[in-house]
């Protein structure tokens, strides 16, 4: 730990306001997600706790606001603040799980493509190209019509599109690492190929992935929000921030803006924080030329 605090990384971190703001935002959401349920009195998805009399109360600073629901309530009397906390959980859950799955699949395919080259490489990269021409929305629509909505369908749609960037990046790094002499030395030492990939190539291609993974969480949160907004995302029983926006959208133009806007602001802050920190990481982890 002390090594981290004395490192050049931390030195530059302290000097970068965008990094610190970014990570503060991320920390805020992480805490909200972990501690959320304990912070709000009302579980907005427990029907028994709701009271229709509380519906459409505006935020506390406007006339008609109720200090118990500082950001207001929606049509069913759900506390918007509590909904955001619960919704953020789902959004982040989806973002993180899809990221991990994409990373795993993409890295594996990228290593194989880069290391073995030839036909295997061509095939994997053509699949990647094809994959990229399908927007995730199309894939989600297809899945929905075939097997219905659900968080797992969203995860599949996101992963199907998300793995490509890892595969491409890892393939590129792999191609450059296998030319390096330490990989040749491993061959001369008599290591079989799978061990070379695991012990030598993989640890040395991971660094750029950290940046990609970080920023991808934000990207996935946004894509999922769009999917949910269009109705092909998460089911109503587990609303993410995107679905919250959609739910509030219907009444947006009658002046009941807070049910839609606040979840929107929440997404924006989450993704902004991730991107700020991700940018800092990208500059930091960029190998400097001697």
């Amino acid at each position: 730990m002390t090594a981290l605090f004395q490192s050049e990384f931390f030195y530059n971190y302290r000097r970068s306001s965008s990094a610190m703001i970014g990570s503060a935002l991320m920390a805020f959401f992480a805490l909200a997600v972990l501690l959320g349920p304990f912070l709000v009195a009302q579980d907005p998805y427990d029907i028994a706790a709701l009271n229709l009399m509380d519906s459409y109360k505006p935020p506390v600073w406007l006339e008609g606001g109720d200090p118990q629901f500082w950001l207001g309530t929606d049509g069913q009397g759900r506390d918007v603040w509590a909904s955001i906390l619960y919704g953020a959980r789902i959004s982040l859950f989806i973002g993180l799980v899809a990221m991990v799955a994409s990373c795993f699949i993409g890295t594996l395919l990228g290593l194989i493509a880069g290391f073995y080259g030839g036909l295997v490489d061509s095939v994997i990269m053509r699949i990647a190209d094809i994959q990229l021409s399908f927007p995730s929305i199309l894939i989600a629509l297809f899945l929905m019509s075939a097997v219905g909505t659900g968080i797992d369908k969203v995860l599949i749609a996101l992963t199907a599109v998300g793995w490509v960037v890892y595969a491409r990046t890892v393939r590129g790094s792999t191609l450059s690492e296998i030319e390096k002499e330490y990989v040749q030395a491993a061959k001369v030492a008599g290591l079989p190929n799978h061990k070379i990939i695991r012990k030598h190539v993989l640890p040395n291609v991971l660094t750029p992935l950290i940046v990609i993974a970080t920023i991808q969480v934000g990207t996935f949160v946004l894509i999922e929000a769009s999917l949910s907004f269009l109705g092909v995302g998460v089911p109503i029983t587990q609303p993410s921030l995107g679905l919250l926006i959609k739910n509030g959208f219907d009444v947006l133009f009658s002046g009941l803006w807070w049910t839609s806007v606040f979840p929107g602001v929440a997404i924006m802050m989450l993704v902004f924080g991730i991107n700020l920190f991700g940018d800092f990481l990208r500059d930091e982890l960029n190998p400097r030329l001697k």
């Binding site: 330490y182 030395a185 030492a189």
Partner: protein, 344 residues
Amino acid sequence: MTDAPAPMLDVRNLEMHFSLGGSVLDRLRFGKKGPRIDKPVVRAVNGVNFTIERGEIMALVGESGCGKSTVAKTIARIYKPTGGELRIDGEDVAEHDFAQMLPVRAKMQMIFQDPYASLNPRQKVRDIVAEPLLQQTKTTAERREVPKKIEALLAKVGLNAEHAGRYPHQFSGGQRQRIGIARALSVTPGLIVADEPVSALDVSIQAQILNLMKDLRDEFGLAYLFISHDLSVVHHIADKIGVMYLGFMVENAPRDVLFSRPRHPYTRALLSAAPSIKENRDKEEIELTGEVPSALSLPSGCCFRTRCPFAWDRCAAERPALRDVGDGQTVACHLIDEPERDVA
């Protein structure tokens, strides 16, 4: 009739050609007669012959693109040769698969040029040095001996035990080369292929590493295949020297013979070009014109004729073979037959 022991390394007609252009899909072209698949070939090594006895240091010299590094990597079986025989301690390993090569790897190891790329930055020194040895150990008892051996090896190359737990970036270029040498020594090989081992080092460190390599040869009876572009380094360390150009060996001779009586025009040009710190070192002046042709399309006949100051029509028609001219010297040049053409 006793058999003399086989040379440590015996290379016959070694060939290494690379097909470029990616996989089948990438090489697909649509020409006037319909689709075809291009097959560009880089002929990096074209029929090289030489032997190295135990304890002998042979150098391969030449400039960029001559194929010397490829020869080194082919001998180390990083690449599988596309032709010829490759005998290591008597055994032809040119066609060996992975399992068959594994015991051979205990006899032959390699040290590399770039001290910054030849060590895995994420591995500790002790793991780096132990790696070749660990591939050769089968029993747990053997494996338990490894840490002690590593310590001894590090000491032998001038590092100490506390260096074992560090990472490569904590060492200087010269120290990293020492780590590479320790790694190669871990299996107590008979042959070490050294690919430009001192080219990336400062002059004062070069001297240290060259002295170390010589001491190790004296102590362990190692044979070296020493690749270099620097004639003065090679003059210092080699017993015999092969000169390469465009994948061909154009001359091969013991050190003193090569430097005092070079026969091939390219060798003479190399010697003439090498800058020297001694004033008025007496050297022949041969200046080459033009650039090295591409290995994708070799000149017909003699590969050197496009830059040779003496070339005549025979050189384009007929490729000269490597011929013995006495004193252990072989040369591939038509001037041997017609020495009267040798006028600058």
